[in-house]
Amino acid sequence: MSAQEGLALGRAYASEPGDPRRRQRFTLGKWLLPLYCVLAFVFLLIPIVYTIAFSFNTQTGKSNISWSGFTLANWTGVCDQQDVCAAFGTSLLIGAIATVAATVLGTMIAIALVRYRFPFRSAVSLLIFLPMATPEVVMGAGLAAQFLSAGIPKGIGTIIIAHTLFCLSFVVVTVKARAASLDPALEEAGRDLYGSPFAVFSRITLPLLLPGIMAAALLSFSLSFDDFIITYFNSGTVQTFPTYIYISAQRGIPAQANVIASAVFVIAIAIVVISQLVTQSRRRRLTSARP
């Protein structure tokens, strides 16, 4: 029996509202599930709270493992540890360039996939899907082997190439989802009104795609900023924030690293919360404007 038939039958033989079985299940689920979720969230947040808390720790030795008193010194003197700050700066630079490159290239592909017909369509889709199904270590080793055989020295450039690569597919998927939900009639209307292809794109397509593009850029930046595995294969002597932490893990991470991670966390959460509130208020406005 298909689900549709089941639905129809279900309506026809609707049970009494006072079915005791149903009431019991309802109360059990009512308390168990929320309780579980609260515990699950606590579990998910433990290392985050830990990392933020230890950004306020008075650092005694090289490592920042045992609690020895509250201080703001790490926050006021983030760049006392020059390595941390330099690595952070490098990560920001790489993240910015890779995000712009991946967002531009990925958005173009996404628009083509949704709006145009072209041969070898499934091969193109496969080419975009494959990087997402490839373990990072394989991608990192592959790029490193290529740079090695081509004699390209590792550095910021090779890291940017690698980051653009793994962000690209995620941009395509994110923007494509947005582009597919757009009504092609809007663009047709633009063309019917004698809009040039450029005008149609810049006045209609791009503004409508913008939320998707922004989301893709945000995702790219956070993927790039936090990437370690691929970066480590292609960084040479350049240190990004994650490679700095990996290398320092043996001798102890300075509290300044926690400060930077915490600050990035707070900013990222703020961006997400604000964009969420904007979306919801816009949705509310749109629904209330409807007759």
């Binding site: 689900a3 089941g6 639905l7 279900g10 309506r11 689920g29 599930l33 579980y36 979720c37 699950a40 998910l44 433990i46 290392p47 985050i48 830990y50 990392t51 230890f54 493992i65 290239l105 173009m108 592909i109 083509a112 949704v114 709006r115 145009y116 017909r117 072209f118 080419l127 494959l130 490839t134 373990p135 990072e136 270590v137 394989v138 080793a141 592959g142 082997a145 290529q146 055989s149 653009t164 690569l165 690209l168 998927v173 994110t174 947005r178 939900s181 292809p197 936090d226 370690f228 595995i229 480590y232 294969f233 924030f241 932490i245 990996y246 893990a249 991470i253 997400v272 964009s275 919801q280």
Partner: protein, 301 residues
């Protein structure tokens, strides 16, 4: 939530594209060229590297040395099996952990959109704090003097010499924790669209809660389960941070990623590292295609 879009959102059914023009070529060419140049070509050069022969002076030359594969696979068979075993366990635990959570956010909390987005932000919150730092945080919490070991020893659930860090259990734990958001988001995106009238119909037909869950809820959320398990399994199998000895791993928990990394970056035995990478990639592709075909969700890709 926009970030959920990367979780293989299955709704995006293409509006039949009608036009065919040079514009498509212009749009596609730069990106595809980039993918060919920096994804396909590296894979090919990885295959070439994997077949290189080593001269007496230690340098590598072009060759067709298939024994690179057989040697490295037989030498590191334990690590290969362990990687897939760890990844499988972590994926199953992450699924069991995430499903109720995603169900609550996507179904139960539907009436309260604000609460729903608040909880989604909590789920993705770990993304925004450094992956390495949160793994190191777990290392300290689970360390021998940390609260977990102390408590377990206090309850006599663990011997005085017991460890968590450095043991396989810590690595599996780390893998599970780190990839929970990847599991949760796709589950949420399918459960959020679950039509509750099907569940009502099922219980109206006197199906028990369990039967409804098994026969209605799970099949309807299958696309989310498939993409969630893939998004967890693939990176978990290739991960080498959690199993690294400076993080949660020890000598008895080395994974294939660690072997590839040390062969490539430390011992500079490029053919062995390349051969193992190709093996890892090949096995994952086989698993993915079989899994996706068997669960009947090909359109997901």
């Amino acid at each position: 939530m926009a970030i959920a879009a990367f979780a293989g959102n299955a709704t995006a059914v293409d509006a039949t594209p009608r036009r065919r023009s040079w514009v498509a070529l212009f749009l596609l060419l730069p990106g595809l060229l980039y993918l060919v140049l920096f994804f396909i070509v590296p894979l090919v050069s990885l295959i070439i590297t994997s077949l290189e022969s080593q001269g007496l002076d230690g340098s590598f030359a072009y060759g067709f040395v298939v024994s690179n594969y057989t040697d490295s696979v037989s030498t590191f068979a334990t690590q290969i099996w362990r990687s897939f075993g760890f990844a499988l366990i972590a994926t199953v635990i992450a699924l069991l952990f995430s499903y109720p959570l995603a169900y609550f956010i996507g179904v139960t909390a539907r009436r309260w959109p604000l609460l729903q987005s608040f909880m989604l932000i909590l789920v993705i919150a770990p993304f925004f704090i450094s992956f390495l730092l949160r793994t190191l945080a777990w290392k300290t919490i689970l360390s021998d003097n940390g609260p977990v070991v102390t408590a377990l020893q206090g309850l006599s659930l663990m011997g005085p010499q017991g460890h968590i860090t450095g043991e396989p259990i810590a690595v599996v734990f780390g893998l599970t924790y780190n990839f929970i958001p990847f599991m949760c988001l796709p589950l949420y995106t399918t459960l959020e669209r679950l039509d509750l009238r099907y569940l009502e119909a099922s219980s109206d037909l006197y199906a028990s809660g369990w039967a409804t869950f098994r026969k209605v809820t799970i099949p309807l959320s299958l696309p989310g389960i498939v993409s969630g398990t893939l998004l967890t399994f693939i990176p978990a199998a290739g991960d080498y941070v959690n199993a690294s000895q400076d993080f949660l791993g020890g000598t008895s928990s080395t994974m294939i990623g660690n072997v590839i990394q040390s062969n490539f970056l430390v011992q500079q035995n490029y053919p062995a590292a390349a051969a193992l990478s190709i093996v890892l990639m090949f096995v994952i592709l086989v698993i993915v295609s079989v899994y996706v075909r068997r669960s009947g969700t090909e359109d997901l890709l």
